[in-house]
């Protein structure tokens, strides 16, 4: 399963990068969303997918059956943080559109005033 997941994750990263290279801001933000999905799944996969019971103490489950709880905790933290960042990014995009009147990144050239 881990092998399939590795490919899925690679695919997610690929799609994310492709989207981030496009000029539309919303596609870029969607790309960041995919990127974090990929990263979260990666942690889970790297922790091993072999557990047969959720990591919640229950009767009749031996310790080795639990799924690895540490990656799950890490993912939880990472999810929350990427949620914060994504919301910020969305509002930023919203404000940028209000001020700059575009969501096209090509029209948002920087201050690199090459004189």
């Amino acid at each position: 399963m881990e092998i399939i997941m590795s490919f899925v994750i690679g695919f997610l990263f690929m799609a994310a990068v492709y989207l981030m290279l496009s000029k539309s801001l919303i596609r870029i933000i969607i790309g960041t969303g995919l990127l974090s999905h990929g990263a979260h799944l990666l942690i889970l996969t790297m922790g091993g997918l072999g557990g047969t019971a959720p990591p919640v103490v229950a009767d009749g489950v031996s310790v080795s059956d639990y799924a690895d709880p540490l990656p799950q905790a890490l993912i939880l933290t990472a999810i929350v943080i990427s949620f914060a960042v994504t919301s910020f990014f969305l509002v930023l995009a919203y404000r940028a559109y209000q001020e700059l009147g575009t969501d096209n990144m090509n029209l948002m050239r920087g201050t690199e005033d090459n004189d």
Partner: protein
């Protein structure tokens, strides 16, 4: 007080949370934020004494044994960086008061600065690789807020790029942590340092090490990952720029230093050679930028990149001179960059522009500013006996002793370009025929000038009185060169 080393993180956090209750009361915001920075500073000084007396301090949070809970570790390196960061934040708060504008002050500006300090201090102190990620996010989130604070057009435009790059680097960070966890099964840095040498197949670890280099390189703005920096740093107002320029890239640099000396040492011939080459390229790329633009802010901004290269070059040598030089230079660079940004900020305010070509003749009206700037510029370029020199000397020595002979020559030669870029500001803004300036109230001028002068004064002391600091730098270098000190402090309590 076993928790002493947490105070530099918790005090600003506490005060920042308190500040959220009355955003509109400016005077209270100012007083409390300054008080927070002072209190933090005091706690850092105590911590410094403690570390100096008793060696590396470590506390494992929640009383869980070392690899299982999160460990916070204060060795001399991290204390020094925390100290510099706190000093700079304190001065930035003072400098902000006359410059940042009432509207910004009413909109959670000071809490954001304190949150940034929380993140920076935390990143310097943590002993856990995932916790490092969390602190990175704290400081990044605060920096996102500060960079867009005010919502001016360039700010909005540049913060999108800044944000995007950092989101990518965060995702890669998480991925890299996942890989590392997969191979080693642990997250604690000291534990990693114990476990990594047990692994015989170093190949995959080398790959992971390179990934971490890329991840931290995004933050540290190494070649070719620095492209986001010039635009992003150009957008926000000067105090924020000073804060960013002095602190943010240094966190990335610190992370590289920590990981590359503590546990990614299994394949030095590959990883550190690579680091050295990248460092040299970073210096060169920074030099091109520093010379290319006639904009006071940009010139100093690109000098950040150059300094990053110089520091990493010292680290890449992995010998005593190189590492100690890099550490000295790191501390120096944080202070001098803040000071320089303060100074060019005043210049930009006086002229109402940051374009060098529209400046001139300031020497007639503000001679003292000119002299202070000149001293800072020479300090930046590493002219003895100012603070840039001892570090650079040691780095060059390290390079000559190490494998990268040519690197040292490049470091030396590019010092000239650094000097040229910094002196160009002097020649264009201070010399030449006077041009029209924006009238500036004496009071607000001094409110800006005094913090700048004190910071420059500190760098001068750091250079002339370098002997006072050398034991600290030595102590920091010793831990980096002998990871066992760090490991023992964390794992055998």
């Amino acid at each position: 007080m076993i928790n002493l080393l947490l105070f530099p993180i918790l005090i600003p956090l506490l005060f920042a949370a308190i500040l959220l209750f009355f955003p509109k009361n400016i005077s209270l915001q100012r007083i409390i934020s300054a008080a927070a920075a002072v209190a933090t500073l005091i706690s850092v000084l105590f911590l410094l004494l403690k570390v100096k007396a008793d060696g590396v301090q470590a506390v494992t949070l929640g009383s869980w044994d070392a690899p299982f809970g999160i460990t916070m570790v204060s060795d001399m390196l991290s204390v020094l960086l925390v100290l510099s960061a706190t000093i700079i934040t304190l001065f930035v708060i003072f400098y902000s008061m006359p410059t940042i504008g009432i509207d910004r002050e009413k909109s959670f500006y000071y809490p954001a600065v304190l949150f940034l300090l929380v993140g920076v201090n935390g990143a310097f102190t943590t002993g856990d690789i995932f916790n490092l990620f969390v602190f990175f996010e704290v400081l990044l989130m605060a920096s996102y807020m500060l960079i867009v604070h005010g919502g001016e057009k360039p700010q909005l435009r540049e913060s999108i790029k800044y944000l995007l790059v950092n989101v990518i680097s965060s995702a890669l960070f998480v991925a890299a942590v996942a890989f590392l966890y997969s191979v080693t099964g642990t997250l604690n840095m000291a534990d990693l340092a114990v476990k990594i040498p047990q692994i015989e197949e170093t190949g995959i670890l080398t790959v992971i090490a390179v990934m971490f280099l890329v991840v931290f390189g995004f933050k540290a703005a190494i070649f070719p990952l620095y492209f986001w920096l010039p635009g992003a740093y150009h957008a926000p107002p000067i105090p924020v720029l000073a804060l960013f320029g002095a602190l943010l890239t240094k966190v990335g640099v610190y992370a590289i230093i920590r990981t590359y000396t503590l546990f990614f040492t299994m394949n030095i011939a590959f990883t550190h050679e690579l680091l050295g080459i990248i460092a040299i390229l970073t210096i060169l790329a920074g030099c091109i930028g520093a010379l290319a633009y006639f904009d006071v802010k940009k010139i100093i901004i690109y000098n950040i990149i150059i300094a990053v290269g110089v520091i990493l070059f010292g680290i890449a040598q992995m010998n005593e001179a190189g590492i100690e030089g890099a550490l000295f230079y790191l501390v120096h660079d944080m202070l001098i960059k803040a000071a320089l940004f303060f100074l060019v900020g005043i210049v930009a305010v006086i002229f109402g522009t940051s374009n060098l070509r529209e400046m001139g003749g300031l020497m007639k009206t503000y001679p003292v500013l000119g002299w202070v700037y000149l001293i800072a510029a020479f300090g930046l370029a590493g002219i003895p006996p100012l603070s840039g020199f001892p570090g650079k000397l040691l780095i060059v020595q390290g390079g000559f002793e190490g494998p990268q002979f040519w690197g040292s020559i490049v470091v030396l030669a590019t010092s000239l370009l650094v000097l040229l870029s910094a002196i160009r500001i002097f020649i264009y803004a201070f010399w030449g025929e006077p041009v029209k300036t924006v009238p500036l109230k004496k009071r607000s001028y001094y409110q800006m000038f005094v913090p700048a002068v004190i910071l420059v004064g500190i760098t001068v002391i750091l250079g002339v009185g370098a002997e006072l600091f050398m034991p600290l730098i030595n102590g920091a270098g010793e831990v980096l060169l002998n990871p066992s000190i760090y490991i023992d402090a964390v794992l055998k309590e």
